[in-house]
């Protein structure tokens, strides 16, 4: 039963093969003939050698394999494999017992090999095509034939989409604030639900479209009920010499950085502050994003527009200032307002145990300065004002043994300090993480973290991380439920206040998981930026269904 024979479907592309075995280089295997044909053409052009597509019948249907035709022996085939890899065809491999493409049609007699032991187990007999033509070996003739081949037409019922997926999660969330409210109208809970679906489509050339909307409903605060397009971008990828380029166009989220207590260098996306006071949730951002990556690292360039307003709690919501923020009164330093062009660039690379990122951002700041104003009804409000800034960023991590050493630093020019005066400043987060593996005689891992946050403006800093020490712990049980505990205390060294955060997550059963969280604000004094939120400690419970 184990016989081999290749079938010629298209004269020049898909050549006949005899059962005789020979040496060949293989450049790729495809389930889809169109893909094989396209790759055949591309690789043949790149290497400048004649190639053929042979079909091998496997247990899971035909497999179209791009092989060399001009490699009479092992040495020649292996040399071509090496050449191909150097030329950016990494998947090339040496096939010792390749079916040899026939030179004459008369010799294309379908016979099983005498000795089944010498035959690849994967290959089975296939029917010989009646209209087989002699393959041509001259490269010119081959290219001509390939070019003359009609464009593959879409088989009926088979769309352009080669791969699609629909996934996401829905969660029921409840948050309770046990302390009485500071500001009038504030509710003592924030319950609701979150929907986060994701649709991904990929065509046969590997181009893709990702759409990921976000919606939160909050029963207590209409301002916290919000929708956002986290992602909606098209992506294409290709080779450029030994490097690879990637282009993303549309709305996307980009993360830079290494530290845990604060994401200091991360600047591309606006903070979705109503989501969580830890400032880590982000809104989608419209941009063009080009990446060029290789073993040397990656260089990325961003062109960004459509500045997003930071989100803030409404009158009935907790975690807000005494005055409400009127996003309708937002002003910009830039004359183009939110449609000004922001540009950013980043180099990231790995040098042994060190991962480094160097970034620059020039554009409208994501951080608003809140100006006192009066709204149409004559009520005092705060109006966000966004300055033009230039920020240089550095993030680095040294990974060694059980230790991770982390550093994030920025220099920002053009921003206003707490007094509303322009002040250039530097800020950093530096620290480390030590992990104990297999603690308590179990498979659990215990991580211990310490980070120091510093902002050169100190008392006039607009960030609450102006001189704060963070101690944290991360316990991963590595069990079937993926149980994880994360706890941390961010202590303000200038004001003696503490921001305590505890998170516990556990998978319940297959698609269901449970997340418990508490944030406790301790000893928040009048001088602290969090003073208006001093009684907004909370406990939260989320039930998440993932699909």
């Amino acid at each position: 039963m184990r016989r081999i024979l290749a079938v010629a479907v298209t004269a020049a592309v898909l050549v006949a093969a005899s059962p005789a075995a020979g040496a060949a280089a293989v450049f790729g295997s495809f389930r889809d003939l169109d893909n094989a044909t396209r790759e055949h053409h591309r690789i043949s052009m790149r290497l400048g050698v004649p190639l053929a597509v042979v079909v091998v019948r496997t247990g899971r249907g035909p497999l179209y394999r791009i092989v060399s035709t001009g490699t009479p022996d092992e040495a020649a085939a292996r040399a071509l494999v090496v050449r191909a890899r150097e030329a950016g065809v990494p998947g090339a491999w040496y096939w010792a017992e390749a079916p040899v493409p026939e030179q004459l049609p008369e010799e294309r007699v379908a016979t099983a090999p005498e000795d089944p032991e010498t035959v690849p187990a994967e290959l089975e007999a296939v029917e010989e095509a009646p209209d087989m033509q002699p393959p041509r070996t001259a490269p010119d003739a081959r290219e001509e034939a390939v070019a003359a081949r009609p464009e593959p037409t879409e088989p009926p019922g088979e769309p352009w989409i080669a791969y699609r997926s629909f996934s996401g999660d829905i969660s029921l969330e409840g948050r309770w604030y046990p302390d009485p409210a500071v500001h009038p109208g504030q509710r003592s809970h924030a319950s609701g639900f979150v929907v986060r679906p994701e649709l991904y489509l990929e065509d046969r050339a590997g181009r893709s479209l990702t759409v990921r909307p976000f919606f939160r409903h909050d029963a207590a605060d209409p301002r916290r009920t919000h929708a956002d397009l986290h992602e909606a971008y098209g992506m294409a990828v290709g080779q450029w010499g030994a490097s690879e380029w990637e282009l993303r166009l549309g709305v996307d989220r980009v993360f830079w950085g290494v530290t845990e207590s604060q994401h200091l260098v991360d600047i591309i996306n606006q903070v979705d502050l109503v989501e969580h006071p830890n400032e880590k949730a982000r809104l989608g951002q419209l941009m063009a994003h080009v990446t060029l990556a290789g073993n040397w690292g990656a260089f990325e360039l961003f062109g960004i527009t459509g500045h997003r307003d930071r989100t803030f709690s409404g009158r009935t919501g907790r975690l807000r200032l005494p005055l409400l923020i009127d996003r309708g009164a937002t002003t910009y330093e830039s004359g183009a307002e939110e449609w000004g062009l922001d540009v950013a660039g980043r180099y990231s690379g790995t040098i042994g145990a060190v991962d480094v990122g160097i970034s620059v951002f020039d554009g409208t700041s994501r951080e608003p300065f809140l100006l006192p104003a009066v709204n149409g009804a004559g009520t005092p409000v705060l109006a966000p004002h966004y300055r033009r800034i230039r920020q240089f960023g550095l993030d680095a991590q040294l990974t060694t043994g059980s230790w991770l050493y982390k550093l994030e630093a920025i220099h920002r020019a053009g921003a206003w300090n707490l007094l509303g005066r322009e002040e250039d400043y530097a800020a950093f987060v530096a620290g480390g993480e030590y992990t104990l593996y297999g603690v308590f005689g179990s498979g659990a891992d215990l991580g211990l973290l310490a980070e120091w946050n510093y902002d050169g403006r100190r008392e006039w800093a607009t960030s609450r991380f102006q001189n704060d020490l963070f101690f944290g712990t991360r316990l991963a049980l590595n069990d079937e439920q993926g149980t994880e505990f994360i706890g941390g205390v961010l202590s303000d060294l200038d004001h003696d206040s503490h921001f305590v955060s505890l998170e516990l997550s556990r998978r319940l059963r297959d698609n269901w998981s449970l997340e418990f969280e508490t944030v406790v604000l301790l000893n928040v004094g009048e001088a602290d930026l969090l003073y208006a939120m001093r009684r907004d400690s909370f406990v939260g419970l989320d039930l998440v269904y993932s699909f």
Binding site: W95, Y200, V258, T291, S546
Partner: protein
């Protein structure tokens, strides 16, 4: 199961002891030891060589985790492997794992750049934050996704990562197996040693016994369902890992093998991790 395996080992050790001691002079013993190491290394090199030249492959993995009470949970992931170019010095294969199940970690991806000597380079991609995180490779002995497979069991071992000692040939089913002891050079490995059974015909791996740092039998791996791909690469369909200390087990089933799959080197870079699917 545990008792049976241990019992047989004890017998084998006694036989080896009786066979060697009364006749061999100390120098002969040393020579024998060197010869056993040499032969063990040669087998490892041979086995490695037989696996080389594939260029790349992709496959799917399904894990069924079973606890002592028999409760099961499932993992599904896809694997891509890019072979180290022949001229690469010190660099090993690159492996990419993308998780489909459990659903709450869907889209999480794990990238490993193996190094022939020293620790591997590893990155994790967290889709919720779109964050690529370089992670510590000191967790080699840690559980992979709560399964009985450790991280160090999940990527193809490099020859240089172990010291070897040939033990014996013995029957394994209808085949003859060569039995080699290999000792991890990396002190962060969770194992003191491993005993490996490979058949003499094709050097396919059939069984591994893992001994923990205290030299107690920790886990046994049984491999089955071998098929040959692209006429030369033998790959198993099922790998069953039993933990003798906890009574838990994991059955890892491989499917959708595609040798020489169309992958690009960029997929195996930290930046490529961001679009891993």
């Amino acid at each position: 199961m545990m008792e049976r395996v241990r019992g047989r080992f004890r017998v084998a050790a006694v036989v080896a002891f009786l066979g060697a001691f009364p006749t061999a002079a100390p120098t002969a013993l040393a020579e024998d030891a060197a010869a056993a190491e040499d032969r063990g290394l040669a087998i490892a090199r041979d086995a490695r060589q037989r696996k080389q030249g594939f260029g790349s492959f992709t496959a799917s993995q399904t894990m069924v985790l079973r606890n002592r009470q028999g409760r099961e949970s499932r993992r599904h992931l896809r694997v891509k492997v890019l072979e180290a170019p022949p001229e690469a010095e010190g660099a090993g294969d690159r492996s990419l794992f993308v998780f489909d199940e459990p659903r709450d970690v869907r889209g999480t991806a794990f990238l490993v750049h193996a190094n022939k000597e020293g620790a591997d380079d590893q990155w994790l991609y967290l889709p919720a934050l779109k964050r690529v995180k370089r992670i510590n490779s000191a967790n080699r002995s840690g559980s992979f996704m709560g399964s009985e497979f450790a991280y160090e069991d999940m990527t193809p071992p490099e020859v240089e990562q172990f010291d070897y000692r040939y033990l014996r040939d013995e029957a394994c089913g209808e085949l003859t197996c060569t039995v080699v002891e290999r000792t991890p050079r990396d002190e962060r490995s969770g194992y003191r040693r491993q005993i490996v059974w490979q058949d003499t015909d094709e050097l396919r791996l059939w069984k591994v016994e893992y001994y923990d740092r205290r030299d107690a039998l920790l886990k046994t791996l049984d491999v089955s369902g071998y098929a040959r791909y692209v006429d030369r690469y033998w790959h198993a369909a099922e790998m069953s890992m039993v933990n003798h200390l906890t009574g838990k087990s994991t059955v890892l089933t491989w499917s959708d093998y595609d040798f020489g799959a169309a992958v690009t080197p960029g997929e195996f870079l930290p930046t490529g991790l961001r679009r891993a699917r």
